[in-house]
Subunit: 294 residues, 2 copies
């Protein structure tokens, strides 16, 4: 995932009358220093982000990602991002992505300590090869997220529905999964419900019904899950949001972790118990996710 493009954005220069935002952008060398040590993103993980999948130069589901960025900004008391400015930055970054798969990241930081405004930038990088995860699948373990299902409602300062830059716990959970010989993790609540993976959403199949944990604050509402549910509904399947008890993991007819860059990774085992894999459906799902989507 070597970065090949980076664009600094001036979020303060985004007045609504503007039709061309290029003057608010500064292309920078992604390998050269571009941020000061006073950056609050780096001092306190104080900011928000999005990772957008790019296929053959087409950035996927930009609207859904910009909506989630706006939602994260609101939860974190950051100024609302100007959607037109960010969309133009994504277009610029996508134009730098050649054929194949890439990833565009959007970052909105609270800025420099005691500085006047947030800082913001966009990067583009070639995506890792995710073929193996998509076809051979992944082994996962369940890990306690420490919260009850209702924590986000009771304590919005826990920022549980926001995609913040404070991902140290998510990364630690992935390291713990690797230590246990697995590829990824599924977070559970202390009261026995299933949430999401550290960087992906969970979808279970139960007959002809696809189920995902209801995103009422405790998890990120995944853009990939959302897009896939639309597609599955159009294909005639049932799709439902539910409070999913951890016990449902072992009775599922199939299960996937889905996210913007890795796309749909079929789960082959949860806590060392095998899960049935539907290779054909998985291939169809990934073909859909790789097609241009808006």
């Amino acid at each position: 995932m070597a970065l090949h493009f980076a664009l600094m954005i001036d979020p303060a220069a985004s007045d609504d009358a503007r039709t061309d935002f290029s003057e608010t952008f500064t292309a920078v060398d992604p390998a050269a220093p571009a941020l000061t040590v006073g950056e609050l993103s780096t001092q306190r993980g104080d900011g928000i982000f999005e990772s957008i999948g790019v296929v053959d130069g087409h950035a996927q589901e930009v609207g859904a990602h910009l909506s989630r960025l706006a939602h994260s900004a609101q939860l974190c008391d950051l100024p609302q991002p100007n959607a037109r400015q960010w969309r133009e930055a994504v277009t610029r970054a996508a134009a730098e992505c050649g054929p194949g798969e890439a990833v565009i990241k959007l970052i909105l930081s609270r800025g420099i300590e005691h500085g006047p405004t947030p800082t913001a930038w966009v990067t583009a990088a070639t995506a890792a090869d995710n073929t193996r995860a998509r076809t051979r699948g992944i082994r996962v373990v369940t890990l306690d997220r420490g919260y009850t299902l209702d924590a986000p409602t009771r304590a919005p300062w826990l920022l549980l529905g926001a995609k913040t830059l404070s991902y140290a716990v998510n990364m630690a959970a992935l390291r713990e999964a690797h230590r246990r010989g697995a590829d990824d993790a599924i977070f559970t609540t202390t009261d026995g419900f299933v949430l999401e993976a550290p960087t992906a959403s969970l979808i279970l199949r139960r007959g002809d019904t696809f189920v995902t944990p209801a995103p009422h604050g405790g998890i990120l509402h995944g853009t990939t899950q959302l897009s896939l549910f639309d597609h599955l509904a159009a294909e005639g399947y049932e799709t439902v949001y539910e409070n999913v008890p951890a016990s449902a993991l072992h009775t599922a007819d199939a299960a996937w972790l889905v996210s913007s860059v890795r796309l749909a990774a079929p789960i082959t085992a949860i806590d060392d118990v095998d899960v049935p894999v539907d290779a054909e459906l998985t291939a169809a799902v990934n073909a859909y996710l790789l097609s241009p989507r808006d």
Copy 2:
């Protein structure tokens, strides 16, 4: 808190035979770009830090801060920092601090994405004037941290005892406190115990006994609390670590939030209920905390 000094450190060049680490340091302009957008500190708050108080050019309790940095590194699976290298960097930074109070920050990031080694740096800045908090005191509110007291034992991947760069929740809790008309917050567990403030430790007075929540994983072990307990014990007081129920907040004879830069801030009210203030003891405590400590 304008930064006036920044030093990049090469943690990979810290072999133990070295007696002079100056070749592993590069002074940089703190107002100029020094970090790349690939930095994992900035992308995911993936790293650890320390904030050290400096009084008239003397960095306080450097040994205790370096021990905690090492502990955080272990919890986060980061390479152990070389204490001699970091101590030399602190000495360099302290030499750049004039009379009065300053703050030196140590940052150890997991590095650049897919890069070979962590990145690290040290900054120095003039401290904010904390006289008002130290003399007039602070109003605090209690905020649910979402966890039970035993969460860190059950789930070490929550990194609860580590001082990570993922401080978005701590910052959100401070904003929530300000929204409620308070200056600071005290985190509580869902099972009714008291933890710490978002950037400080809590000390309660009960007669001639000083009490602080037991740091078994759920909170940071504060260097200021530790130093103050040594001092209070030497003065003949009892000092104890306990599981402190939230109900104890309202029966305390006095209460303080203590931390390396603001030092001891007497609490004047908790959730709008007045707390007795011992101005004389507070002044003596802050005089001790401002004296050179190692």
